[in-house]
Symmetry: C2
Subunit: 260 residues, 2 copies
């Protein structure tokens, strides 16, 4: 067995640069950290370029690594330099970007789509992708100035779902709304001030949900592009719901209506 | 106007000790950080002992402070030592503990109760309390070895809802389940392996939801105490849902059924 590479090794240093968004975007590569993420990446043909692993993790996660062609053993310090986790599990994959063109997402009669406009918190973005996956959505569109879906926190919070869900990145939220409507979906904006109560809405048809920023919600000009603005009723004294929480309630209510 | 107190002042130092759980528990006091939290606390009679504020924040949040008897002006360094926020808003309240006896929570025919058993993440706990508030739940019971609800992260994630919702702390989860059932509620355990599909369950009657730890869920012996074990259907390839997300879907589905 070869000697583990150290943090100063050129390949380790090059991989470490993927912690920067600009480098990720330029190289169209990102890091997937931990066994869940590496397993998800390894199941996706053509996704994994290389997996860095500590000797201990190589033995512990042999089942995950069996599908990986290029496995590189590194020491604990090198692993710590690649992982953004406080206690690294010992394996990090260099992965190719996953996003697909908007046309791919809107082809083939989608039933349930998610558009996130200007979502900024990496954990929220990952959690929304995970929830969309669980609710059976066809795809998630990250629109506007949204967080980088290849941020390690987003990848981690998605618990593998970034590798399951078709993801599209669209700079202009209005273009995303138009494309989703053209695909045959009613576009519903989640809006605390919306005129339709979620639980009184007819959600049986193909639907595209539009969610706004976690702090300031959907700006009026975007909300007005939707076919309806839908509010989750607040029965108590809370002012609002967390974005990922609100998305979960909307998506599961939609999924239940469509499948009834 | 008096000179702002510094970080070395005895009262500031004593308040700062409330960042430790042991001191919070012993004194039955905690810190509420930021305008939302201080406003929530100030509206609750008898809750606020004292508010520490920077000169700038005193001017900016005069409307919040008008209801507070004891306002103490401190300098920016003293504020930074009291706040656990990276960018403190400039006001922190010393508050009396809010939790009520379990008997208070189960009195008066509750319709929707939440039991969290061994919930460990402070942000998750706060988010569940906020969601329970929004969904119109009557109270949240933190059972077993759950996170301290007076943790600053929990208070912040609740966005004021710790001041709205009756909260009970119960060391023994089984005792909480028994009390909720005695109050006339069907106890439903949220369990990924549950035998009842959430969207096929009859949720019209009074209900107590039982949620487990974010990592390992509900242990079998606790799940078996519930009347039914209810699963949220996973339509896609996600393995599970985030705890706060799952709680939101369960509580809103219950609330919608009860109010239909």
């Amino acid at each position: 067995m070869s000697v583990p590479l150290t943090a100063g090794n050129t390949r380790v240093k090059e991989a470490r640069k993927l912690s920067r968004r600009s480098v990720r975007t330029e190289r169209r590569l990102f890091l997937a950290d931990g066994p869940k993420a590496v397993e998800g990446a390894a199941r996706l043909p053509g996704c994994v370029v290389e997996v860095f692993v500590t000797p201990t993790a190589r033995a512990a996660y042999a089942d995950v690594l069996v599908a990986v062609e290029q496995v590189t053993v590194v020491d604990d310090r090198a692993m710590a330099s690649l992982s953004d986790s406080v206690s690294p599990a010992g394996l990090v994959a260099v992965c190719r970007h996953l996003d697909v063109p908007l046309e791919t997402v809107t082809a083939g009669r989608p039933q349930l789509l998610v558009i996130c406009a200007d979502i900024r918190d990496p954990g929220n973005a990952g959690n929304v992708i995970r929830t969309a996956d669980a609710a059976g959505a066809d795809a998630v569109i990250l629109a506007g100035r949204s967080v980088d879906i290849y941020n390690p926190k987003t990848v981690r919070a998605s618990v593998g779902s970034v590798f399951h869900m078709p993801l599209a990145l669209v700079p202009d939220p209005a273009a995303a709304v138009a494309a989703v409507r053209d695909a045959g979906c009613a576009v519903l904006a989640a809006d605390g001030a919306g005129e339709v109560d979620l639980f009184e809405a007819d959600l049986r048809g193909p639907t595209g949900w539009l969610f706004g920023n976690e702090a300031w919600g959907l700006p009026g000009h975007l909300a007005s592009l939707a076919d309806h603005r839908v509010s989750i009723p607040i029965h108590g004294r809370a002012e609002s719901l967390n974005l990922a929480t609100a998305a979960a309630v909307c998506l599961y209510t939609s999924a239940a209506s469509q499948r009834r």
